[in-house]
Protein backbone atom coordinates (compact mmCIF):
# COMPACT_ATOMS: atom_id res chain seq x y z
CA UNK A 1 0.00 0.00 0.00
CA UNK A 2 2.82 2.41 0.79
CA UNK A 3 4.13 2.06 -2.77
CA UNK A 4 0.67 2.76 -4.18
CA UNK A 5 0.33 5.89 -2.07
CA UNK A 6 3.86 6.96 -3.07
CA UNK A 7 2.96 6.55 -6.73
CA UNK A 8 -0.30 8.47 -6.29
CA UNK A 9 1.51 11.35 -4.58
CA UNK A 10 4.09 11.40 -7.38
CA UNK A 11 1.40 11.38 -10.06
CA UNK A 12 -0.42 14.30 -8.44
CA UNK A 13 2.65 16.53 -8.03
CA UNK A 14 3.81 15.66 -11.56
CA UNK A 15 0.45 16.42 -13.13
CA UNK A 16 0.04 19.66 -11.16
CA UNK A 17 3.54 20.92 -11.91
CA UNK A 18 3.33 20.46 -15.66
CA UNK A 19 -0.36 21.18 -16.07
CA UNK A 20 -0.20 24.50 -14.25
CA UNK A 21 3.37 25.82 -14.10
CA UNK A 22 3.88 26.58 -17.83
CA UNK A 23 0.46 28.21 -18.08
CA UNK A 24 1.12 30.35 -15.01
CA UNK A 25 4.43 31.45 -16.47
CA UNK A 26 2.89 32.23 -19.84
CA UNK A 27 0.12 34.29 -18.22
CA UNK A 28 1.97 36.19 -15.50
CA UNK A 29 5.67 35.91 -16.27
CA UNK A 30 8.24 35.51 -13.52
CA UNK A 31 5.71 36.30 -10.79
CA UNK A 32 3.40 33.61 -12.14
CA UNK A 33 6.16 31.03 -11.89
CA UNK A 34 6.96 32.13 -8.36
CA UNK A 35 3.28 31.98 -7.37
CA UNK A 36 2.91 28.55 -8.99
CA UNK A 37 5.78 27.23 -6.92
CA UNK A 38 4.27 28.68 -3.74
CA UNK A 39 0.86 27.13 -4.40
CA UNK A 40 1.84 23.80 -5.99
CA UNK A 41 4.93 22.92 -4.01
CA UNK A 42 3.33 24.24 -0.83
CA UNK A 43 0.21 22.08 -1.01
CA UNK A 44 1.99 19.06 -2.47
CA UNK A 45 4.68 19.22 0.18
CA UNK A 46 1.95 19.30 2.82
CA UNK A 47 0.31 16.23 1.34
CA UNK A 48 3.39 14.24 0.33
CA UNK A 49 5.82 14.96 3.13
CA UNK A 50 3.99 16.50 6.08
CA UNK A 51 1.11 13.99 5.97
CA UNK A 52 3.40 11.31 4.54
CA UNK A 53 1.72 10.19 1.32
CA UNK A 54 5.21 9.56 -0.09
CA UNK A 55 6.41 6.92 2.32
CA UNK A 56 9.42 8.04 4.38
CA UNK A 57 9.80 6.18 7.65
CA UNK A 58 12.15 7.77 10.22
CA UNK A 59 15.76 6.70 9.89
CA UNK A 60 15.44 5.78 6.22
CA UNK A 61 16.89 7.53 3.20
CA UNK A 62 14.64 10.39 2.13
CA UNK A 63 12.69 9.98 -1.12
CA UNK A 64 11.65 13.44 -2.28
CA UNK A 65 8.76 14.54 -4.47
CA UNK A 66 11.39 16.20 -6.71
CA UNK A 67 12.00 12.81 -8.36
CA UNK A 68 8.37 12.70 -9.41
CA UNK A 69 8.50 16.28 -10.76
CA UNK A 70 11.56 15.46 -12.84
CA UNK A 71 10.22 12.23 -14.32
CA UNK A 72 6.90 13.96 -15.02
CA UNK A 73 8.71 16.76 -16.88
CA UNK A 74 10.49 14.29 -19.13
CA UNK A 75 7.36 12.19 -19.75
CA UNK A 76 5.31 15.33 -20.42
CA UNK A 77 7.82 16.61 -22.99
CA UNK A 78 7.97 13.21 -24.71
CA UNK A 79 4.21 12.79 -24.98
CA UNK A 80 3.15 16.34 -25.63
CA UNK A 81 5.90 17.53 -27.98
CA UNK A 82 7.19 14.19 -29.29
CA UNK A 83 10.71 14.75 -27.95
CA UNK A 84 13.23 12.00 -27.38
CA UNK A 85 14.43 10.81 -24.00
CA UNK A 86 18.16 10.89 -24.78
CA UNK A 87 17.96 14.62 -25.47
CA UNK A 88 17.19 15.27 -21.81
CA UNK A 89 20.00 13.02 -20.58
CA UNK A 90 22.93 15.54 -20.56
CA UNK A 91 21.01 18.08 -18.49
CA UNK A 92 19.63 15.34 -16.27
CA UNK A 93 23.09 13.94 -15.57
CA UNK A 94 24.45 17.41 -14.81
CA UNK A 95 21.54 17.99 -12.42
CA UNK A 96 22.18 14.69 -10.67
CA UNK A 97 25.91 15.48 -10.35
CA UNK A 98 25.20 18.93 -8.91
CA UNK A 99 22.60 17.54 -6.53
CA UNK A 100 24.89 14.74 -5.39
CA UNK A 101 27.73 17.17 -4.70
CA UNK A 102 25.32 19.34 -2.71
CA UNK A 103 24.19 16.29 -0.73
CA UNK A 104 27.76 15.38 0.22
CA UNK A 105 28.59 19.01 1.09
CA UNK A 106 25.41 19.44 3.14
CA UNK A 107 26.01 16.20 5.04
CA UNK A 108 29.47 17.44 6.06
CA UNK A 109 28.17 20.90 6.95
CA UNK A 110 25.40 19.37 9.07
CA UNK A 111 27.91 17.18 10.89
CA UNK A 112 29.98 20.15 12.03
CA UNK A 113 27.63 23.12 12.27
CA UNK A 114 26.53 23.67 15.91
CA UNK A 115 22.97 24.55 14.85
CA UNK A 116 22.48 21.02 13.55
CA UNK A 117 23.57 19.24 16.74
CA UNK A 118 20.89 17.84 19.07
CA UNK A 119 19.80 20.29 21.78
CA UNK A 120 20.08 17.76 24.63
CA UNK A 121 23.42 18.20 26.46
CA UNK A 122 24.10 14.49 27.02
CA UNK A 123 23.64 13.55 23.39
CA UNK A 124 25.61 16.62 22.37
CA UNK A 125 28.72 15.35 24.17
CA UNK A 126 28.32 11.98 22.47
CA UNK A 127 27.93 13.64 19.12
CA UNK A 128 31.03 15.78 19.55
CA UNK A 129 33.05 12.71 20.51
CA UNK A 130 31.69 10.86 17.51
CA UNK A 131 32.63 13.74 15.23
CA UNK A 132 36.12 14.01 16.69
CA UNK A 133 36.72 10.31 15.96
CA UNK A 134 35.81 10.91 12.35
Amino acid sequence: MKFVSTAIGGAIIGALAFGIWPEMWKSYGIMGGWLASAVLVGICWYMNHWLGIISNEPGRIWVDQGWAVCSAGIAWGMVRFGEQFFQALPTLICCLIGGGLAGIAAAHVKKRNPRFQPRDAATEVEKIEEVSHV
Binding site: K2, T6, A7, G9, G10, A11, I13, G14, A15, F18, Y28, I30, M31, G33, W34, L35, S37, A38, V41, W45, W50, I54, R60, I61, W62, D64, Q65, W67, A68, V69, C70, A72, G73, A75, W76, G77, V79, R80, F81, F85, Q87, A88, L89, T91, L92, C94, C95, L96, I97, G98, G99, G100, L101, A102, G103, I104, A106, A107, K110, K111
Partner: protein, 163 residues
Protein backbone atom coordinates in the same frame (compact mmCIF):
# COMPACT_ATOMS: atom_id res chain seq x y z
CA UNK B 1 41.45 23.03 -23.38
CA UNK B 2 38.35 24.89 -24.46
CA UNK B 3 38.61 23.44 -27.95
CA UNK B 4 38.89 19.95 -26.53
CA UNK B 5 35.89 20.55 -24.30
CA UNK B 6 33.93 21.99 -27.20
CA UNK B 7 34.53 18.99 -29.44
CA UNK B 8 31.48 17.06 -28.26
CA UNK B 9 29.06 20.00 -28.09
CA UNK B 10 26.97 18.75 -30.99
CA UNK B 11 26.90 15.20 -29.70
CA UNK B 12 25.75 15.98 -26.15
CA UNK B 13 23.77 19.06 -27.10
CA UNK B 14 25.28 21.42 -24.54
CA UNK B 15 28.37 23.62 -24.40
CA UNK B 16 30.93 23.57 -21.52
CA UNK B 17 29.45 26.83 -20.23
CA UNK B 18 26.03 25.17 -20.02
CA UNK B 19 27.52 22.25 -18.09
CA UNK B 20 28.99 24.68 -15.55
CA UNK B 21 25.77 26.67 -15.13
CA UNK B 22 23.66 23.51 -14.87
CA UNK B 23 25.85 21.88 -12.23
CA UNK B 24 26.06 25.14 -10.27
CA UNK B 25 22.30 25.75 -10.38
CA UNK B 26 21.60 22.17 -9.29
CA UNK B 27 24.14 22.45 -6.47
CA UNK B 28 22.65 25.70 -5.15
CA UNK B 29 19.04 24.56 -5.05
CA UNK B 30 19.84 21.16 -3.55
CA UNK B 31 22.11 22.63 -0.86
CA UNK B 32 19.60 25.29 0.21
CA UNK B 33 16.74 22.79 0.32
CA UNK B 34 18.71 20.28 2.41
CA UNK B 35 19.95 22.89 4.86
CA UNK B 36 16.97 25.22 5.20
CA UNK B 37 13.79 23.22 4.56
CA UNK B 38 14.10 20.93 7.57
CA UNK B 39 15.00 23.82 9.85
CA UNK B 40 12.06 25.92 8.63
CA UNK B 41 9.70 23.02 9.31
CA UNK B 42 11.28 22.53 12.74
CA UNK B 43 10.81 26.22 13.60
CA UNK B 44 7.38 26.94 12.08
CA UNK B 45 5.70 23.55 11.61
CA UNK B 46 3.67 22.96 8.43
CA UNK B 47 3.55 26.72 7.79
CA UNK B 48 7.34 26.55 7.50
CA UNK B 49 6.94 24.06 4.66
CA UNK B 50 4.63 26.44 2.82
CA UNK B 51 7.12 29.29 3.35
CA UNK B 52 9.93 27.08 2.11
CA UNK B 53 7.95 26.02 -0.96
CA UNK B 54 7.39 29.65 -1.85
CA UNK B 55 10.70 31.26 -1.05
CA UNK B 56 13.16 28.43 -1.73
CA UNK B 57 11.59 26.69 -4.72
CA UNK B 58 10.08 29.89 -6.13
CA UNK B 59 13.29 31.85 -5.91
CA UNK B 60 15.41 29.06 -7.29
CA UNK B 61 12.86 28.45 -10.02
CA UNK B 62 13.52 32.03 -11.14
CA UNK B 63 17.25 31.41 -11.09
CA UNK B 64 17.24 27.96 -12.71
CA UNK B 65 14.27 27.81 -15.05
CA UNK B 66 13.15 31.32 -15.91
CA UNK B 67 12.44 32.22 -19.48
CA UNK B 68 12.70 35.77 -20.76
CA UNK B 69 9.79 38.14 -20.40
CA UNK B 70 8.49 40.64 -17.90
CA UNK B 71 5.10 41.18 -16.32
CA UNK B 72 1.84 40.13 -17.86
CA UNK B 73 1.92 38.55 -21.33
CA UNK B 74 5.68 38.11 -21.54
CA UNK B 75 7.09 38.01 -25.03
CA UNK B 76 10.06 35.73 -25.43
CA UNK B 77 13.31 37.04 -26.90
CA UNK B 78 13.65 35.01 -30.11
CA UNK B 79 16.61 32.72 -30.53
CA UNK B 80 18.34 32.79 -33.94
CA UNK B 81 17.68 29.05 -34.30
CA UNK B 82 14.00 29.41 -33.45
CA UNK B 83 12.19 29.36 -30.12
CA UNK B 84 13.00 31.65 -27.20
CA UNK B 85 16.32 32.44 -25.55
CA UNK B 86 16.87 30.89 -22.15
CA UNK B 87 18.40 32.79 -19.25
CA UNK B 88 17.99 30.19 -16.52
CA UNK B 89 21.00 28.34 -15.12
CA UNK B 90 19.73 24.82 -15.86
CA UNK B 91 20.16 24.44 -19.60
CA UNK B 92 17.45 22.62 -21.52
CA UNK B 93 19.26 20.19 -23.83
CA UNK B 94 19.66 20.59 -27.60
CA UNK B 95 18.59 24.26 -27.46
CA UNK B 96 15.33 23.35 -25.82
CA UNK B 97 14.45 20.53 -28.24
CA UNK B 98 14.78 17.93 -25.48
CA UNK B 99 12.12 17.10 -22.90
CA UNK B 100 12.02 19.33 -19.81
CA UNK B 101 14.70 18.38 -17.26
CA UNK B 102 13.62 19.81 -13.93
CA UNK B 103 15.63 20.86 -10.89
CA UNK B 104 13.52 18.40 -8.89
CA UNK B 105 16.04 15.73 -9.85
CA UNK B 106 18.79 17.77 -8.19
CA UNK B 107 16.76 18.19 -4.99
CA UNK B 108 15.83 14.51 -4.87
CA UNK B 109 19.38 13.37 -5.55
CA UNK B 110 20.76 15.80 -2.96
CA UNK B 111 18.43 14.59 -0.22
CA UNK B 112 19.10 10.96 -1.14
CA UNK B 113 22.90 11.37 -1.08
CA UNK B 114 22.71 13.41 2.12
CA UNK B 115 20.67 10.65 3.77
CA UNK B 116 23.17 8.09 2.57
CA UNK B 117 26.12 10.09 3.98
CA UNK B 118 24.41 10.56 7.34
CA UNK B 119 23.83 6.85 8.03
CA UNK B 120 26.50 4.66 9.56
CA UNK B 121 28.85 2.91 7.19
CA UNK B 122 27.63 -0.65 7.81
CA UNK B 123 23.97 0.21 7.19
CA UNK B 124 24.37 2.21 4.01
CA UNK B 125 23.91 -0.63 1.55
CA UNK B 126 20.79 -1.98 3.22
CA UNK B 127 19.21 1.45 3.47
CA UNK B 128 20.01 2.23 -0.15
CA UNK B 129 18.42 -1.04 -1.27
CA UNK B 130 15.40 -0.33 0.95
CA UNK B 131 14.86 3.06 -0.67
CA UNK B 132 14.93 1.81 -4.27
CA UNK B 133 11.32 0.51 -4.47
CA UNK B 134 9.97 3.75 -2.95
CA UNK B 135 12.10 5.73 -5.39
CA UNK B 136 10.82 3.66 -8.29
CA UNK B 137 7.23 4.14 -7.14
CA UNK B 138 7.69 7.92 -6.93
CA UNK B 139 9.30 8.08 -10.38
CA UNK B 140 6.64 5.80 -11.90
CA UNK B 141 3.91 7.96 -10.39
CA UNK B 142 5.55 11.05 -11.87
CA UNK B 143 5.66 9.37 -15.29
CA UNK B 144 1.95 8.54 -15.09
CA UNK B 145 1.07 12.11 -14.14
CA UNK B 146 3.32 13.62 -16.81
CA UNK B 147 2.00 11.33 -19.56
CA UNK B 148 -1.61 12.08 -18.70
CA UNK B 149 -1.02 15.84 -18.64
CA UNK B 150 0.89 15.52 -21.91
CA UNK B 151 -2.10 13.79 -23.50
CA UNK B 152 -4.00 17.08 -23.18
CA UNK B 153 -2.09 18.29 -26.23
CA UNK B 154 -3.68 15.49 -28.29
CA UNK B 155 -7.31 15.86 -27.32
CA UNK B 156 -7.79 18.75 -29.72
CA UNK B 157 -10.96 20.06 -28.08
CA UNK B 158 -12.12 23.34 -29.55
CA UNK B 159 -13.51 25.28 -26.62
CA UNK B 160 -15.69 28.40 -26.75
CA UNK B 161 -15.49 28.63 -30.53
CA UNK B 162 -11.85 29.70 -30.65
CA UNK B 163 -9.98 28.67 -33.76
Amino acid sequence: MYEWMSRYVDAIGMSPASVVTTVFGAFCVAFVVIICWGKLVEDFGPAGGFIAGAIIIGTFWVMNHKLPGFGINPEGIPHPDGGSKQFGLIYQGFRGAGPWADMGAAVGMGLWVCGLCETRKGERRLLAIESVPRLTAAIAGGIVGGVIVGLVGWTGANLFGYK
